[in-house]
Amino acid sequence: MNIVIQSESHDLSTDDVISWIYHLNKTSRISKLDDFTEVNDISLEMSNANKVSVVVNNNVNIDKETKYWYRRGEFDIDKKLTKKSNLNRNLCDETIRPILDYLDSGINQNYLNKFADNSVNKLKLLEKAINLDINIPDTLITSELSQLKEFVTQHKKVITKPIKNPFINFNTTEYKVKFTTHSKLITSDDLADEDYKFLPSFFQKYIEKKIEIRSFYLKGAFYSMAIFSQQNEKTKIDYRNYDRTKPNRCVPFNLPDDLKEKLTVMMEELELNSGSFDIILTPDNEYYFLEVNPIGQFQWLSKNCNYYLEKRIAKSLINE
């Protein structure tokens, strides 16, 4: 029985999990696929008897016994082939791409996360929350300042945040440019202009917070942490604006059972077996769902709450 881990070469959580794997089972065999894995050779077999077996680059074997953990990284088509010409690129798209897409979808049901989890749609998540009767902040996507103004008039405090990634990269001839942001509160200055258009942007009613909750979901179980971000002006709007000199208090938390049941249904419907939830508890004791990140950081949650998540993940990979 072997374990395949697809990650980044410098991911600390991966290293921690590997420590636990070797400690809990010395005979574990771990294959690592790091960063961009160019696929030069691939063979795949399917049968009722043996389910699906794949051999990548003649050295990584995935069969019905293999446990697969997708953490980071990506499969790539052989660059030599795609650089050649349009025809070669199209041929690769036709022949190799579907195989890689299939690998990205998780095979043999023996996996923790899959590459495809990266593209879970944030809007779909919000819709699912609504359908499951989970509170979400009123949300608006628009390209017009006038519509935003109406929204702000209605909700008073509104935040804007990126709809997908907080990072956007692009390259000039000389430099690499990286744009980053998290949530920002809209101020009256933002609304002073005459109507103009922008790319469709994401706005939500600002929800007052008693505490923020980060909850790590792993195969049906929740490991939650309360973040007391409201005492610190720096972290009040977005706790990711970390105060490293006086970190927000982070302590273990118990989500109510009925909310956990609904969130579990959400995960099952999305076919996610792991993810990190961002939830707000309001001063009126209401829980608001913000988002779930299928593949996020859990190390600080594990450390702050002594949850030993790395051990739990290792155990799920060695079949315990």
Binding site: S9, D15, V177, K197
Partner: protein, 78 residues
């Protein structure tokens, strides 16, 4: 064009062409790096043998392994 100028240019461009950017772009934190691929790999210089993992910074142990140094005698040079 140096980094500062590039950054200024970008900020100006965003201001002058809002229709090409999302609303939040005015709050973007803009980081500019030399377009040198090699620089990142140089930093990931710590590797962990058969674990096949790497790191930028090293992780210390959570306590002193032994207490053989009389730390009191070192006061004043820290």
């Amino acid at each position: 064009m140096n980094k500062l100028e590039t950054k200024k240019r970008i900020i100006e461009y965003i201001k002058d062409h809002p229709q090409e950017f999302p609303f939040i772009s005015k709050y973007w934190n803009i980081e500019i790096e030399e377009g040198n691929e090699a620089s990142k790999d140089k930093i990931l210089s710590i590797s962990y043998g058969h674990y096949k993992t790497k790191d930028i910074a090293v992780t210390p142990f959570y306590k002193s392994i032994s207490k053989i140094i009389d730390v009191r005698k070192l006061k004043g040079i820290n």
